[in-house]
């Protein structure tokens, strides 16, 4: 079976060039909210059940998708943070991230 391409971080403005796994986890758990230059971080994700979201969660962040969802639900319903924008396809991910200042997401190659 051919190996599927690995999830790859995708960000506008070259922001994603050298992010450590710990920093990425802080970003996708919505705890780190601005880039070093002060631009707000805008996070995009695929739906919880999307295979690429599953692989990204586990292989890049080292967490299970339900952990992310639980953390986002806590943020929303305690009013302590914003949550990622959900896009439906990898194509939409590329478009939205490219068009959004401070945007970050992931793609499949």
């Amino acid at each position: 079976m051919a190996a599927e391409p690995s999830p790859k971080i995708y960000a506008a403005d070259g922001h994603a060039d050298s992010l450590s796994p710990e920093t990425l986890r802080e970003i996708f758990f919505m705890r780190l909210t601005s880039w070093p230059d002060g631009t707000p971080i805008r996070v995009f994700v695929l739906p919880d059940k999307h295979p690429l979201h599953n692989r990204f969660s586990k292989e890049v962040l080292g967490v299970y998708p339900f952990q992310l969802r639980a953390a986002w639900d806590r943020l929303v319903f305690s009013g302590t943070g914003l949550i990622p924008h959900v896009v439906e396809t990898v194509g939409e991910m590329r478009e939205r991230v490219r068009a959004t200042p401070g945007g970050i997401g992931y793609v499949d190659k």
């Binding site: 710990e22 319903f77 009013g79």
Partner: protein, 407 residues
């Protein structure tokens, strides 16, 4: 009068926080750039059905009750990456144990700074803020964030009137987060005026039915320390609430007095891809003085162990054993029954619960659960007036169903 003052004081705190935040920010940002403002609107609507073989939970459940409704809408505006305003309106009906209808659940401003290559965050939150207690308290009215329709009642009282004093409070909290590789440490410290003049909380705290008067005194203190490994794969917490309130009676026949309560809670959770294991243990040390010739002291105890299993992405199951003792030195309730003349089963409750939930379409779920309960300690006297006359059935079953939508 007291409640009017309370509103003013919480507003003042919020206003001061906003002014302080603006002052801090004025150095970095001379004008607000609207392209950096983000906002979101979210909400949920849940409707429950409750059936009990005897006793009543959330309305007249022996005939099947629909008196369990939770609706909420919230908005958050991020004016700057580290400055967030948010508020939530909540409608809740839970039979006799919640008759407040609409309420302001939270309305707060949150400001933080990150230091040391963003490994350390220091923040302040002020306004009406959710009480960060244990694993589930701050979002407990949203079925999506709790493991079951009915939370473990030994820790999270929903039928007893202490609930209202535990949900949200007017004041502020300081928090810090520190990341070190896969390890994360959180500390929170809160000072706030609890909402103990609402939802029968005064009666519960003083032990006087329909207590005619108001609660005042120093704000509650709360601390919570959290350790997380791998984004919450493992989690350990210690929370503690320290409450000291004075009851001012406005009826000469009923004495004023004071209530001191200390509530420590230990929480552990471990998450694997398919399953989660959770346990919490806490006790409430209460001292009531002034109401009786001799001050009354008591220590209750609550704990549960819970397993969750994710069968598929859409289906999950939960199994839990939850125990509450009104007096941990009298777990059978025998001496409390002798002292008060009430039935022994009023002073303990052991609840074995099993449940399933199914997210049948994205953002829609249905949850069903069955509880086998021994004891009546956490039942609401509002829904069960016979309990105070020595009635109530010590052995009972509860079936609960909930449909929920969120956006």
């Amino acid at each position: 009068m007291a409640s009017a003052m309370r509103i003013i004081s919480s507003r003042t705190i919020a206003r001061q926080a906003i002014i302080a935040a603006c002052f801090l920010l004025s150095g970095g940002a001379s004008a607000l750039d609207f392209s950096t403002i983000d906002w979101q609107l979210h909400g949920f609507a849940s409707q429950g059905f409750t059936y009990t073989t005897s006793n009543q939970v959330f309305g007249a459940s022996r005939r099947g009750s629909l008196d369990f409704t939770e609706l909420g809408v919230n908005g958050s505006v991020r004016l700057l990456p580290n400055l967030l305003f948010s508020a939530q309106g909540l409608y809740r009906n839970a039979g006799g144990s919640d008759r407040e209808d609409f309420r302001l659940d939270f309305a707060q401003v949150d400001y933080n700074v990150t230091l040391f290559d963003s490994s350390l965050t220091l923040g302040v939150r002020a306004g009406r803020v959710k009480i960060p207690f244990g694993l589930y308290n701050d979002t407990r009215d949203v079925v999506w964030t709790r493991p079951s329709v009915i939370l473990p009642q030994s820790i999270y009282f929903d039928t007893l009137a202490l609930r209202q004093a535990m949900i949200a409070a007017d004041g502020g909290l300081l928090y810090s987060r520190y990341n070190w590789g896969d390890h994360r440490f959180n500390l929170e410290f809160m000072v706030a005026d609890p909402q103990d003049d609402t939802g029968d909380a005064t009666d519960f705290l003083t032990g006087i039915p329909d207590a005619p008067g108001t609660m005042e005194g120093r704000p509650l203190f709360l601390g919570r320390a959290v350790y997380e490994w791998m984004g919450g794969r493992a989690r350990a917490m210690f929370s503690v609430v320290d409450l000291e309130r004075d009851f001012r009676s406005n009826m000469s026949a009923i004495p004023s007095g004071s209530v001191r309560a200390l509530y420590p809670l230990f929480s552990l959770q471990y998450n694997e891809e398919r399953w989660s294991l959770t346990a919490e243990y806490g006790w409430i040390d209460t001292r009531r003085s002034g109401f009786t010739p001799v001050p009354l002291e008591n220590t209750s105890e609550g704990f549960y162990v819970q397993g969750e299993y994710r069968l598929t992405e859409d289906w999950s199951a939960v199994l839990r054993y939850d125990v509450f003792h009104a007096d941990r030195d009298d777990r059978s309730g025998r001496s409390l029954a002798e002292q008060t003349g009430q039935a022994r089963h009023r002073f303990y409750a052991r609840d074995l619960a099993v449940g399933v939930r199914w997210e049948f379409v994205r953002n829609w779920l249905i949850a069903a659960e069955y509880h086998n309960v021994d004891g009546t300690a956490w039942l609401s006297p509002r829904d069960n007036s016979d309990l105070l006359q020595g009635g109530g059935d010590p052995h009972w079953d509860l079936f609960s169903l909930m449909l929920s939508f969120r956006f």
